[in-house]
Amino acid sequence: MSCAQTHLHKVELQTKDYKTDTKPFWCPGCGDHGVLTSVYRALSELGVDPNYLVNISGIGCSSRLPYFVRSYKMHTLHGRAGPVATGVQLARPDLAILVNGGDGDGFSIGGGHMPHLARKNINMTYVLMDNRIYGLTKGQVSPTSQRQLKAYTTPYGGVEEPMNPILYMLTYGASFVAQTLATNVKMTAQMIKEGMEHKGFSFISVLSQCPTFNVIDDAKSFKGSAEEVQEGHDVGDIDAAMHAVNMAHKNNRIPVGLLFRQERSTLDERMADLVKQVGGSPDYDLRKIIDLARP
């Protein structure tokens, strides 16, 4: 398998070498602690050089994650981590790009960007930390909240149906789609690792419980609903992936594991081909361009 994001800059570091001095600010019992541990483990197992890693996030509890990871990083605006990361990646295809963000950040305010990250196959790893609630604003329903959730703005229970992020990402054309539970550090680290090794847009949905505000989707209920992808599942078959997700949804189950992986060219590769096709180079004589405007 090609390791497009990390093949250029590898080092041997311990998990502790990826930790910053800033202590995570999440509540005790928050699933995000598990995601962070998984990120550390994945980075050290891959041996990613932190100098060539850019960790990017939007706004929300989970979007604070980059502060705790030694790397170059951008803490951007609500919903905009994806397009900002696109700019970084296209400008510098030699960098490893890791995006973290929540369900509201990625699928409500930033929902318009997700199809384009996927279909364009921007070479980055997007780790969705889905707690099915807005935590930083103290507990409002999100696009992934279950309908019966009584929350800040839904005192009588919600009136909307939740969406299923991985089904959307499969439909949008993501070339790598996986789902895990934050409590399962082993699987989460493994999926992040494989996602970062994957050349293209990898999407990992991690169900990350919010013990403070989401009273119905706790670690236990996630665990109870989780159903590992069946042995023999063909990760190269989009129909099989969609079917698995749909069947699990119908049965109120949460499919976990690697659902889909496809090798195809990334946007930065296609752009580099285009430059090659026109014989482009920084030394190209500007006068040749200006001459075209002679009357």
Binding site: I56, P83, V84, L90, A91, V275, P295
Partner: protein, 571 residues
């Protein structure tokens, strides 16, 4: 008689070849060494609607589209109806007839030339060549260089094959013959240049694209919007030759976000939009200022508010450009006068963004966007190119270190020891979140005080005229070119008048405004918007109390309008 300064307007239904006819006239004039300044209007719809292309050609430098036309060429009745009031005695009028869709009632004193454009094109078995018949007639009647036109027509259609070239040239020849059969009654002929300078012909939008490429643009994020889209077209065509890339984003929020990402990654990046797009970008401009990430945004203004007049001219985004973002948010705002500025000030916009690590907005407008002008051949080596200050790797790195000039060196990803965060949260010098009063005050001061040097280092606003005068006229954007001509006409009549033409609008060069104001008995600010947006800033920031002269009909000022207002003020 040769007129040194002739204006030919071609008008008709969109899709009839109006724009290409105008383009051919313009190219031919420029090829023989004439100065040209064109002006177009076109409908917001793709098919049909009124389209107009006006070419002003002169042996002397031109700064605007002129007052009105000397020659009108009407392809249909609508074009005639819309322009009839401007068919003044002495103008020449070429129209589709007999056999067109209208019978004009030619006003007295107008020199009329009926040319059966539609009928002739039909006879030639090539209805699409109606505009070539018109072009041939215009070429004969007003001495538009025949040889240059033939060359340009041949080049234009050569890709479509010899038959198409032949067909168009035949229609052109037939148009000349039809005109030759009519007695020439008007006195107009296009001027004959005495010298030929090394020039190019570019539209405002293309020139911004060229300026960006000269500045060292690496990455352009686009989202289609009238009247800015041609900038992306130009960049998409030429940037890959220099190894750079263009991405079309899903919306303007994404395009400006991508610009910030690319800039963080160490590259020169930009986007171009119009008012509605800029409104969407406001939040990310704040992030650019807060995280001190260089960012260049071009705003080609159009008629607003809301969807407004999407294809029309207005200068109404000054408020949005200067203040558009939440919180106390600084930036640099430049405004271009003409095509030459579109190159030079775009380079300058990049230089400023790289120097001051903040958002830089470059304002153009709907009239300039599509106006093509002759400008001296730009020598790419003559532009000063500035790159951002980068960390030298010596002391321990702090991204937001407060320095003497308040500018903190940047570190590209991949620089060992340079790891840092670009964040929209208030932060300390290391980039760590910090919401204390002392820190917020110190960091806001840092971000604003670095901009103090902008006014000091930027080329002072041009003052047109010397000493004291009765009237001072202040203008920005493409209105400056109109004011230049108005002032020269007023001076010819003995009026004491000066002009003030700022290109840096924010931070405002207050002292320069005040010095200008002190030398004028009265001051007028001419701009194309309802509220008098620059006048508002002048009143707020300076001791001037100018008269605000505004129009907002979707068209630029004419020199005659400024002359009229000036006389009224001095009465």
């Amino acid at each position: 008689m040769d007129k040194n300064d002739l204006i030919i307007r071609v008008a008709g239904e969109g899709g009839e070849g109006i724009i290409s006819t105008g383009d051919l006239i313009t190219q031919a004039c420029a090829r023989t060494g004439l100065e040209v300044y064109t002006f177009k209007t076109f409908p917001a719809e793709i098919k049909g609607g009124y389209a107009m292309y006006q070419t002003r050609a002169s042996t002397k430098p031109l700064y605007n589209q002129g007052d009105t036309f000397d020659v009108l060429c009407a392809f249909n009745g609508q074009a005639y109806d819309l322009n009839r009031s401007r068919l003044l005695p002495g103008t020449a009028f070429v129209y589709d007839g007999p056999g067109g869709d209208f019978e004009p009632d030619v006003p007295p004193g107008v020199f009329a030339y009926p040319i059966p454009m539609t009928v002739t094109a039909k006879e030639l078995g090539n209805t699409k060549a109606k505009n070539m018949v018109a072009l041939g007639a215009l070429s004969h009647l007003f001495n538009i260089p025949e040889q240059a036109l033939r060359e340009i027509i041949t080049a234009k259609f050569s890709k479509k094959g010899g038959t198409v070239v032949e067909g168009n040239l035949n229609a052109f020849t037939r148009g000349r013959e039809l005109a030759a059969a009519l007695p020439k009654t008007d006195p107009w002929n296009i001027g004959v240049p005495t010298e030929k300078n090394d020039t190019i012909v570019l539209s405002g939008n293309d020139a911004i694209g060229l300026g960006a490429i000269i500045a060292g643009l690496d990455f352009f994020a686009a989202y289609p919007i009238t009247p800015a889209t041609e900038i992306a077209r130009y960049v998409a065509r030429h940037l890959p030759k220099r190894g750079g890339t263009l991405i079309q984003a899903e919306d303007e929020i994404a395009s400006v976000s991508q610009v910030l990402g690319a800039s963080f990654a160490g590259k020169k990046a930009m986007t171009a939009t119009s008012g509605p797009g800029l409104a969407l970008m406001g939040e990310m401009l704040g992030m650019s200022f807060m995280s001190e990430t260089p960012c260049v945004v071009v705003n080609v203004q159009r008629g607003g508010p809301s969807t407004g007049l999407p294809t029309k001219h207005e200068q109404s985004d000054l408020f949005l450009s200067i203040f558009g973002s939440h919180g106390d948010c600084g930036r640099i705002v430049l405004s271009v006068e003409g095509v030459e500025d579109c190159i030079g000030l775009t380079v300058e916009a990049f230089n400023l963004a790289e120097t001051y690590q903040c958002p830089v907005l470059l304002l153009s407008d709907g009239s300039l966007a599509f106006s093509t002008q002759t400008i001296p051949y730009p020598d790419p080596a003559s532009y000063k190119i500035v790159n951002r200050k980068r960390w030298d790797g010596k002391k321990e790195y702090q991204r937001y270190t407060i320095t003497d000039d308040f500018i903190s060196p940047m570190a590209d990803p991949g620089t060992p020891g340079g790891m840092h965060i670009a964040t929209g949260l208030e932060h300390d010098q290391a980039g760590e979140p910090n919401y204390t009063a002392a820190n917020h005050e110190a960091m806001q001061a840092k971000r604003f005080r670095k901009l103090d040097a902008v006014v000091k280092n930027f080329t002072p606003a041009e003052v047109d005229g010397e000493g004291d005068s009765d009237l001072g006229i202040i203008a920005w954007g493409s209105t400056i070119g109109v004011v230049r001509e108005a002032i020269s006409r007023l001076r010819a009549e003995g009026v004491s008048v000066k002009g003030f033409y700022p290109k840096l609008l924010w931070p405002m060069p207050v002292e320069q405004f005040e010095a200008f104001g002190a030398s004028c008995r009265k001051v007028m600010v001419a701009e194309v918007n309802f509220q008098g947006q620059l006048a508002h800033f002048i009143r707020a920031e300076t001791n001037l109390r100018p008269v605000s002269y505004t129009i907002c009909g979707g068209l630029p000022f004419t020199p005659a309008m400024i002359v009229g207002k000036a006389k009224e003020m001095l009465k």
